[in-house]
Amino acid sequence: MIALKTSRRLSQFAVALGFPVLAWANAHNWEQVAGNFLSFTFYGLPVSDPLAALQVCLSAWDAPWRLALGGAVTLAIALVLGTVFCSWACPFGLLSELVHGFSRRQRPDAGGGAAVSSRPMGAPGWRRKGAATLAGAGMIGGLGLPPLLNHLSLPGWYSRIFQTWFNQHEAALMGLILVALALGAEAYSGRRLWCRYVCPQSVLLNLVHRLSPFGLRVRFDASRCQCGKGGRGADTCASACTLGLNPKMAGRGLEWECSTCGDCTQACKARGKALTLGFGPNKSA
């Protein structure tokens, strides 16, 4: 059986390479699958970024059914599987993870598994990002503005850069600048800054993940944990976490940020299987 992380990487690379190919095929009049991460059509089935759909619905005071259905499809996936979009599909997430891993190898002292810089943002911090996002969406709705938060969607820009390139041979400058700045900031700080503290697109997905009564979650069984406090390998799970979270916080705030990638459960497999993936509410919550 392929390890979880291997299949996750395969999925990420497939999406990251798939979008340039898709943009190229679209430019050559193949349109069965078309669009970008803000909204696309998969053989007639609409799939949309729920935040983009929310902004349009609020701003136009209307519910275009294909957009709304597309947003609902994405939220339904998050309801069942959590924010797997971020960990299994998002091409910026892949770039960010690769940069993160690279900077960790370059500076093993700066967050090389140490939980110093890897505390979860926690509910208050998450609330700030969520409140800012919803306030932004509300302002866009109130003033009837264009869906401006779309310009903060880096997976959106990733696909839009290829779209404008293959459609009209033009470089989408704003997207290139933003992606470069975000990656640069993450490489400099050694933290997943954009994904954790800025990306507004993950807010609705995480909210649904947090509130889902039956969704997939990381569980932590403290009684099976073989890594004693401060003992050898105490950070095995934390250093495996792609977002720099502490997986032992499962049920105590981890869900506000965890993207259910499953890397921590794989790292924990040989150490008592205290961390597992499972459906339903967290018992320790």
């Binding site: 349109e31 349009v56 136009a60 779209q163």
Partner: protein, 215 residues
Amino acid sequence: MPSTPLRPPGAAPGGRFLSLCVHCGQCAEACPFSSIVLDAGLNPLETGTPKVLPKRMPCWLCMRCGPACPTGALEPVEKTKAGMGTAVIDRKRCFTYIGSIICRTCFEKCPLKARAIELELALYPVITKECVGCGVCENVCPAQCIDTLPPGSAITPEEPVDPSQLDKKAAWGPECAPVRGALAEAGAKPRPETADPSRPERAGILGLMGKVFSG
């Protein structure tokens, strides 16, 4: 360059279009001619929205973009109701109006042929109210004298062609009578016979050619 760009056919009016458009680019991908380009600039209100740049590639009114739009920013409409804008001819530069050559390029290429552009006096192109602003005429005009303006632009209504004014500067002297006759026979409206046969000199390219070949 107009401040508001030319939108694809079936677009919602101005501000509502910007509210509805989710920047997904599916209209551009549905467009078989790449007439629809996605704004790639740095203006956050515009970037990612679709527009048509007629001088680059006009809209050929195939109407495939409307059904591709997931939000209703573009609605599926008939080509006669595309509502992209309207073309405006600069008569000071149009070859036919200035009298250099008989050019009917815009009339011939118009997708709404003989409806959106009519030939007044069988010669002079006039944009009618049926023009939907597809930009084909702007693209093909050899004089580059046509601009396509989005709805709501301040447009001075075209005055009817005044033959007496035209003949003062135009080249269509008596020598052109056979051409006019042929055009009239072909079903075009006959042009009133107002030319002044005693006019000494022709303007424009015909006049120039006349000078070159006679002198």
